[in-house]
């Protein structure tokens, strides 16, 4: 159950390998196997549609966590140039945040992304993409620098949530996240955020206040991880599938709610099936958004950002005569 998508995908990959083998054999041998290959190909496509055609929210959670899904560094490595900057200037450098100056289609940007590992060893070093206060302070520092130097901010979000360890609490994780929100709200430059995998709670939002928010089709973004939500509400983390269904955490739900601005579609089978295409499509969308936002004055940009968040959840608010000036 836990890895349903990865498990089911395995059969598909096996079939894919068989077809490739037959194709090779067909070239080198006199017997014609075209019919057999076509039949297998058809079966392959049916199976693919069956597995990936209608993903449930829970399956999307697994898709978002897929070990082969492109990570922040897969996007950053496709930028024209990248000069990584390190450290919070206080305590340490957090490898769960990769950040620095970069060129995107020739435009200078400050890029920052949450980085999970692509194997066990890297996951241990990068703490599974769960950022510590030091990582968030690196983000604050660089957001401030970017704002001062008039360099737009580009973020990539991919985390289960902020690191919940003892040291993180001792180093004031809450304050570190809160000040990221503050810094992003105040920034005098355009901000574009892309949710490329899992966007979990405040730890994700710390890089998520933006003028334009892009989400990959099978990414998820939620108030808490489904496991966390199930534990909080029902004291039972194993009810995560039910929580995933209730939380409305898919890109389509969040687009309908006006919480994100743009969905980038994924190929059938997910972003990891054609990573190069997905990465360049996302970077193209980021670039377009930056171009549009770059035409706005600083004041207009900041006012629009304020109003964007000001509106969320005010839908049932009776606009009351807030208060008289009776004094």
């Amino acid at each position: 159950m836990n890895n349903s998508i990865v498990e089911r995908e395995r059969g598909l990959l096996e079939l894919e390998r068989r077809i490739a083998e037959l194709r090779n054999a067909n070239v080198s041998q006199p017997v014609d196997m075209s019919a057999e290959i076509a039949a297998l190909q058809q079966k392959y496509e049916e199976l693919q549609r069956e597995i990936f055609g209608h993903l449930t929210p829970w399956e999307k959670v697994h898709m978002a966590r897929h070990p082969n899904r492109p990570t922040s560094l897969d996007y950053i490595s496709q930028l024209d140039r990248f000069d990584e900057l390190h450290g919070d200037r206080m305590f340490r450098d957090d490898p769960a945040i990769v950040a620095g100056f970069a060129l995107l289609h020739g435009r200078p940007v400050m890029v920052m992304g949450q980085q999970r590992g692509r194997d066990t060893k890297e996951n241990l070093r990068r703490n599974f993409g769960m950022v510590t206060p030091e990582g968030y302070r690196k983000v604050q520092r660089l957001a401030h620098t970017a704002s001062r130097l008039d360099v737009p901010i580009v973020t990539f979000i991919d985390t289960k949530g902020a690191d919940p360890g003892i040291t993180s609490e001792e180093h004031a994780q809450s304050e570190a996240i809160a000040k990221c929100l503050y810094e992003f709200t105040e920034a005098r430059v355009p901000i574009v955020a892309s949710i490329i995998g899992e966007g979990g709670s405040g730890g994700a939002l710390a890089l998520g206040i933006a003028d334009h928010v892009i989400m990959l089709e099978h990414s998820v973004y939620s108030v808490a991880s489904p496991e966390g939500c199930a534990a909080i509400l029902w004291g039972d983390a194993t009810k995560a599938e039910e929580a995933a269904a209730r939380l409305k955490l898919t890109a389509a739900d969040l687009r309908a709610f006006g919480i994100i601005d743009e969905i980038v579609p994924e190929p059938l089978g997910g972003a990891h099936r054609e990573p190069a295409t997905v990465v360049s499509t996302v970077l193209g969308s980021v670039s377009m958004a930056l171009q549009r936002l770059g035409a706005m004055s600083t004041d207009a940009l900041r006012e629009a950002r304020y109003q964007k968040y000001r509106r969320i959840g005010a839908w049932e608010t009776e606009r009351l005569e807030v208060i008289g000036t009776s004094r």
């Binding site: 004031a172 809450s174 534990a231 909080i232 959840g313």
Partner: protein
């Protein structure tokens, strides 16, 4: 200024007569306390000084001199996710209203403290664990915007289990919304103080609670980002008792002061005094323009 009924009923008589229980047992030392004595002692155990979680109305009654003009009291929760588990979300909310006597997780408004006009927001753990959904976010944002408009200092008392799950991403986005209002208030040079009471965690601690000029906490209040259980499950060991208490955070440099409830109002008034000249000047500038 109009005085809400709940405030009038608390004035002069001490404890709220609506309160069913006449006696309360201290959860720390077990002492059985007469409710009226407890109220007279600001809901601090007379034996062990444990600070009980206070009702928002009692808190405002304790802090505000005279009248209190509520802001956003009419803002009511929607059900954006059409949430259902054992109960529907609207049914849960109705139960919380009944149980707490509150219309939502925060009471906000304008009043005076020792003559200083302030914008005051008080969260209440008795309503859905003080969780922040759209109503809490909206009321606090209205409060912060009104404080900015009137050049008033703002004080917010927090008590919260974090973001409200049943409102999903709408709840998470209240962190962004309140932060936006906080930045504008502070940019204009207004004093912003937060008082962290038991417990303050998750989306509330990771937004406006820690964005203020001065962070005050009540003794022994549990304050942190991740809940204790989450940390224990992650690291697979028991945490020390002192972990995530106000005193622990003070030692680690995360908060400015831990203040006993009996000294709280005086402490806040002293903080208001440091910045009052600035307020007077700002008000004068506005009046000069008119």
């Amino acid at each position: 200024m109009p005085m809400p009924d709940w405030l009038r009923s608390r004035r002069g008589k001490g404890a709220d007569t609506r309160d069913a229980a006449l006696w309360s047992k201290c959860p720390v030392c077990g002492e059985v306390l007469y409710r009226r004595d407890l109220a007279a002692n600001l809901f601090v155990c007379t034996k062990c000084e444990h600070h009980f979680r206070m009702h928002a109305y009692d808190r405002i009654n304790m802090l505000i001199d005279g009248d209190f003009t509520e802001i956003g009291a009419a803002v009511q929760a929607g059900d954006p996710l059409e949430w259902v588990d054992k109960k529907t979300y609207p049914v849960k909310i109705a139960g919380d209203k009944e149980k707490s006597g509150l219309s939502e997780g925060v009471v906000a408004g304008i009043g005076t403290m020792d003559g200083f006009e302030v914008a005051l927001g008080v969260m209440d753990f008795h309503f859905r664990g003080g969780t922040m959904g759209t109503v809490v976010g909206e009321r606090l944002t209205m409060l912060l915007e009104e404080a900015r408009r009137r050049h008033l200092p703002c004080i917010i008392f927090t008590a919260s289990g974090g973001a409200r799950m049943e409102e999903g991403m709408f709840a998470l986005m209240q962190m962004a919304k309140t932060t936006a209002a906080v930045t504008r208030l502070m940019d204009d040079g207004n004093l912003f103080v937060t008082v962290l009471t038991d417990p303050t965690t998750g989306g509330v601690s990771a937004s406006f609670a820690f964005e203020s000029d001065v962070v005050v906490a009540e003794p022994k209040a549990m304050i942190g980002f991740a809940g204790r259980r989450v940390i224990e499950q992650t690291i697979r060991q028991k945490l020390p008792d002192q972990f995530q208490t106000a005193e622990f955070l003070l030692e680690k440099g995360a908060i400015d002061m831990v203040v006993d409830r009996h000294d709280l109002k005086n402490t806040l008034v002293r903080l208001l005094q440091y910045t009052s000249q600035k307020q007077v000047r700002a008000l004068q500038q506005v009046q000069d323009k008119l």
